[in-house]
Amino acid sequence: MTHSTTEPANFTGAAPKAGPMLAADGRPLKKSLARALRRQKLRALMLVAPLLIFVLVTFIAPIADMLFRSVENQIVSETLPETVMALQEWNGESDIPDAAYDAIYFDLFTAAEAKQHTRLGTRLNYEQTGISSLFRTSGRQLDDIGDDVHDALEDINPAWDEPAPWYQMMNAGDRPVDTALLDTKMFDMRALTGEVLEGDLGFAPAREVSDLLPRTAAAYTSWAIYTALVDGDIVAEEDPWESVFAALASDLQSGADVSGYSGPGADMLAEAAANLDALPAVDFRNVMVGIDEDWGALENWQTIKLYSPDYTPGYFLNSVDMQNGIDGAQMRPENERIYITLFIRTLYLSLVITGSCILLSYPVAFLLSNLPARSANLLMILVLLPFWTSLLVRTSAWKVMLQQQGVINDVLVWLGLVADDSRLVMINNQTGTIIAMTHILLPFMILPMYSVMSTIPPYYVRAAKSLGATNWTAFWRVYFPQSIPGIGAGSILVFILAIGYYITPEIVGGTKGVFISNRIAYHISSSLNWGLAAALGTILLAVVLILYWAYDRIVGIDNVKLG
């Protein structure tokens, strides 16, 4: 097809239809345009790609991770999988069910072997003080009951002390395998250790044994997986954990009928069943409470149950001085509240700092934009000078200036304005924070104001005066409204910087002048409660976004000019 034939055809064809406009080659014009622009778009994308990737990796991803951390809570179900299941039916008020004690013994035993129980203790200690030490001491004493059973069984038949009979009894061999048990235990162990756990296990639980001795089979399977895949040993050659002995005693005492069993180790089992009296009584409720009487306390179990879901509002509740209770969320006692006060103080101080920045910056910016170029440049250097000094140095300088034996107080005393014994307290409180932060953030207010003011031509004020306005009216009605975008830009900048400021309040703020960011830093680096830090950070982010939205609604973000 040539142009001479297609063009008239298109023209006559497209015009009466009034459909999409067609290009010379018959394609829709929109498509042709998009194709023509694709290369340009691609090139533009390639040019921004480095920054885009950088921002994604260093900014968006950490923020997403932080948001996620503030609700993430898999640690409980990963460490205590059976306990979490056993507590599902419990209403949180009545007696703690036996199943829960059974489950937590084995869960804790496995976790202690994998050295994960203290981690969970730390996590739950954020919610219920004392749990951390409960977990730690329990972890050390879980062996005791198993040891007793071990000794008793060994007295009945020394073969119980050998790894081989255990293995022959528990391993399926030619018998049917309890795959469900194996899969569950594999899954739990992967979650607990956080490892992939691949390789030859060399063991499979026999279904007839797991039907007969459920606790024993479960404990042995856990041990076998750990021994083979974590420690890298051969299952048939290792002594089982003490928990397996305790499990066997428990199974036998709860009435397992071994008479029908004829597999490997049948006579050993029958012998043990016949000598039940020689075995110490294994009741896990007594075992746990015996280790630490706090295991009988309702609130510890309530805490475990409350935090058993994979995602929790707990960190956010803590962030607003509330706590998760079995009856729902409620405010913390008056004397434990801290974060609401800190949030309000952070917002209030940021507003005060923004306000004082506006008041101090406006005349400077006005002067800057109205002076002749030479003097304006000199003044601009003075404005920018603080940028060239370290933030730490500037803040420390304020410490020297403001302290009670500092420069300002000395001068005031020397002038006789202040008595020597009543020197002003200007540091380690809110005054110190306001003064130092106003000074530090001043350039961020001056620069946007200046860049807006320098675009306001002088003839507007002249026009206002020629129309009869006094100097003040000309300023207030004509100049000032046009400088508002600069105030807006500076205010947003200063406010958002102030709300997240950390170093300066830390140094000059004392206890009364610290911000929420100092608390976040404390949880990140000292208490290591990253979930709470993340929740506090998320709330801070949300507050800033809400304020930004409100600002957009009230003032209009179009009215913000940085230059």
Binding site: Y460, A464, A474
Partner: protein, 366 residues
């Protein structure tokens, strides 16, 4: 008579001088007096001091020396906002954060006028510039011409004693500019307001003004109605600056009443009218308007002196012909002839004789 003259002087500059740096005078000894209701234009090249004069009148610059009077009262020490002078700025200076109506209402508000009165006046002013429907718009939503009208309305709405306009049409395109010239003139005439208008565009000055003050080098070179200014320039600067002009240089040979004989540098002799010559034997610069040059001998007096000319270029411009000649060493001697049925079309290279009436050829300062 002397009494009425001073009484009618509404704006007066008396020996006004202005210097910005203490070394150079931007305005040198300015004397000007204009009656109420006059439309006076200050015309001149940039740097001639015209805008400085306007700013001194408005009160944004102070006179270094001399006195400026408005309605007979010295205003040197009155701040701008108390002078009651309306001003239209070059860039209009409409307040961008206010609507058109708010802009117009501003001078009335600062005068503490009541709301209903304000609204009535704003409405009337908007209708006067045919912008009645635009009160609610922002200046940025208007075209240049519309902004111009609003700026004009704002300068007029508070019934100022005097309206100053600082190159108000400079930013408009040619067609709109011509249209606005008539518009401004019409409104000024209707309201009978006193206007001081600054421009560097001579056509604007000639079409709009009652009188034009031609500025150069900090002085008023000539202050006259447009026709006088064009036809009877008092010195070579005005002759050059206003309209097109041919210049020949020579020495005054003889003065007889209202004519004189000038011997050009090439030796040719011509008739001229002595306007601004120092005397016999002094150098002079004669000025002839292109449309007053005659090459039809029958229309000249028999004893008139003529000059030999060579046609260099002939340009057909529709309503006129523009012919460039080489005359007495001047290669850019231009003649304009009306495109009449009997008009002669000259060929380049053609030799002709040209002449003029002595009153059209003005002998001015060298």
């Amino acid at each position: 008579m002397a009494d009425t003259a001073t009484e009618s002087a509404f704006v007066e500059f008396e020996r006004v001088q202005k210097s910005y740096d203490g070394e150079n005078l931007v305005v040198k000894d300015l004397n000007l007096s204009m009656p109420k209701g006059e439309f006076l234009t200050m015309l001149g090249p940039s740097g001639s001091g015209k805008t400085t004069c306007l700013m001194m009148l408005a009160g944004f610059e102070t006179a270094t020396h001399g006195e400026i009077k408005l309605g007979g009262k010295p205003i040197n020490n009155i701040p701008p906002h108390k002078r009651n002078i309306g001003m239209v700025f070059q860039n209009y200076a409409l307040f961008p954060h206010m609507t058109v109506a708010e802009n117009l209402s501003f001078p009335l508000e600062v005068r503490k006028m009541g709301k209903s009165e304000r609204e009535a006046k704003v409405k009337r002013a908007l209708e006067m510039v045919q912008m009645g429907a635009f009160g609610g718009r922002r200046p940025a939503q208007l075209s240049g011409g519309q902004q111009q009208r609003i700026a004009l309305a704002r300068a007029l709405v508070f019934e100022a004693d005097l309206v100053l306009m600082d190159e108000p049409l400079g930013a408009l395109d040619k067609q709109l500019r011509e249209h606005m010239q008539f518009e401004i003139k019409r409104i000024a005439d209707n309201l009978g307001i006193t206007v001081v208008y600054v421009t560097h565009d001579q056509t604007e000055a000639l079409t709009m003004s009652d009188r034009v003050a031609v500025f150069d080098d900090g002085r008023i070179q000539q202050l006259d109605p447009p026709d006088v200014l064009y036809e009877e320039p008092k010195n070579s600067f005005v002759a050059q600056f206003i309209g097109e002009n041919n210049t020949l240089e020579g020495v005054v040979q003889e003065i007889k009443g209202d004519t004189c004989i000038v011997k050009l540098d090439g030796g040719e002799v011509i008739d001229a009218m002595p306007v601004n010559v120092a005397g016999v034997g002094e150098r002079t610069r004669v000025s002839i308007r292109p449309e007053r040059v005659e090459f039809n001998k029958d229309r000249l007096s028999p004893d008139a002196h003529t000059l030999k000319a060579t046609v260099k270029e002939f340009i057909y411009m529709g309503d006129i012909f523009r012919t460039r000649l080489s005359v007495a060493g001047n290669e850019d001697f231009v003649v304009k002839t009306r495109n009449a049925p009997d008009a002669v079309r000259l060929e380049p290279g053609q030799q002709i004789d040209i002449g003029w009436l002595p009153r059209d050829c003005r002998a001015l300062d060298a």
